[in-house]
Symmetry: C2
Subunit: 246 residues, 2 copies
């Protein structure tokens, strides 16, 4: 892990870009973080649109985490941003776009082709990033995972014991295999659902919530479409992580 | 409105019992409340089990409100506690119990007979209590309504313009007429749902949430049965009222 840039943001947040092998990433730490007082960490998931495009929203979430005394970090997903294209993923995305534009139901094969390879490739990368981040003296634990492609979050919640709490954005493009995997989650979950999300099937999202195997799970459903999550819902999610990581 | 007793609780809360005509009630105010600094008010709804039985939970909710700088008040429901029995309501409750014990679906006639007269009788009483409470110099506004029989809350949210925000506990024993009335609500709503509530039908509760006409509504679903609402869900509900009443 190599830091490539460093800047101070308003509100006492240190933002550092890094690379981990070929993978770019960003780490935000509150100024209070030190070897003597290491802070917990939230991994910030995001959709595969590239870190540059997602930066404003990621930085907003990171500032909020820092205000609660938490570090936050994210990495570029395979095939996104400046990382090498990935033919199979491009094909799956094109198939998805075609089905949606034609108003056709999106078949299991398309969802599987789109999501499963992304889970297989990216989860070990998040774990490698976690290994490197936890070696920094100012980062302690515990670790949370928040948002992004929900299937990546499901897999991480199942396989990565250092993650003790996760916040998901309920989506419907979830392979059946991942719904089954969701039954094995045992950590506390905080799930956001946008009630009128044009890109998500509400019943599929409710069924997925029902499937999560953990005893402590909370669904927060709010009005509006995919990007219309109200500010207070973000506050509640921040409260969830503060409760479990501090 | 006549105060009949007064005591100071821990944490700077003044608890006063009162009667409004034949109706007993309780008012809790934070010590900070005064004519110079009047406080907002939450009306605390409750199931028809009698104020005495419900006292511990009501006092807990009132203390939490007081900690947020809010007064809280409640009144006995018609036919409950020390108020005169009410033959039709007793009959409807017996019918409900019989249907549930027999494992039969509870028919619309039973639900209507149980709930609609309670709404008709109690809503004007809550409004009369509100009139009296708002004459007290230490109570200002705005006013919220929280919990209890959800159909009473629906009617109050529709007919009482002084109520600016409401928190409901999603229930399935809701007359179809009240589901229709729910479409007319325009104030912000915070709705709690216990995912495994033995006494509630989950789909009916989700359908009711969908029916609420307001643009700002949030559903918080948590694991567990009817009385298993986790503490953090109570915190989130308190946050909702603090946001809208202060």
């Amino acid at each position: 892990m190599r830091f490539t840039s460093e800047q101070r943001l308003d509100g006492g947040v240190l933002e550092r870009e890094f690379t981990l092998g070929e993978i770019p990433g960003i780490l935000w730490t509150p100024e209070s973080a030190s070897a003597a007082a290491p802070v917990p960490l939230i991994l910030l998931g995001h959709p595969p649109l590239g870190l540059r495009k997602m930066y404003p929203r990621l930085a907003g979430r990171a500032r909020r985490a820092a205000a609660d005394g938490l570090a936050a970090a994210t990495i570029e997903l395979p095939g996104s941003g400046d990382r090498p294209r990935w033919a199979a993923a491009e094909q799956a995305r094109a198939d998805l776009r075609r089905a949606m534009e034609a108003g056709k139901p999106v078949g299991d094969e398309i969802i599987d082709a789109l999501i499963l390879p992304l889970v297989e490739k990216s989860v070990p990368e998040w774990q490698a990033a976690l290994n490197a981040l936890l070696l920094l003296p100012e980062i302690g634990g515990p670790v949370g995972y928040s948002g992004g492609v929900i299937s990546i979050g499901i897999r991480l919640a199942v396989v990565e014991p250092r993650i003790v709490a996760a916040g998901f954005f309920a989506g419907s493009l979830v392979p059946r295999a991942m719904v089954e995997e969701a039954r094995r989650i045992t950590i506390p979950l905080h799930v956001l659902l946008q009630w009128d999300d044009e890109g998500n099937d509400r019943q599929a999202a409710l069924d997925l919530f029902d499937a999560f195997g953990t005893k402590e799970k909370t669904l927060h459903a709010n009005m509006g479409g995919h990007t219309g999550v109200p500010q207070f819902a973000g506050e509640d999610a921040a409260g969830f992580f503060a409760r479990h990581l501090r």
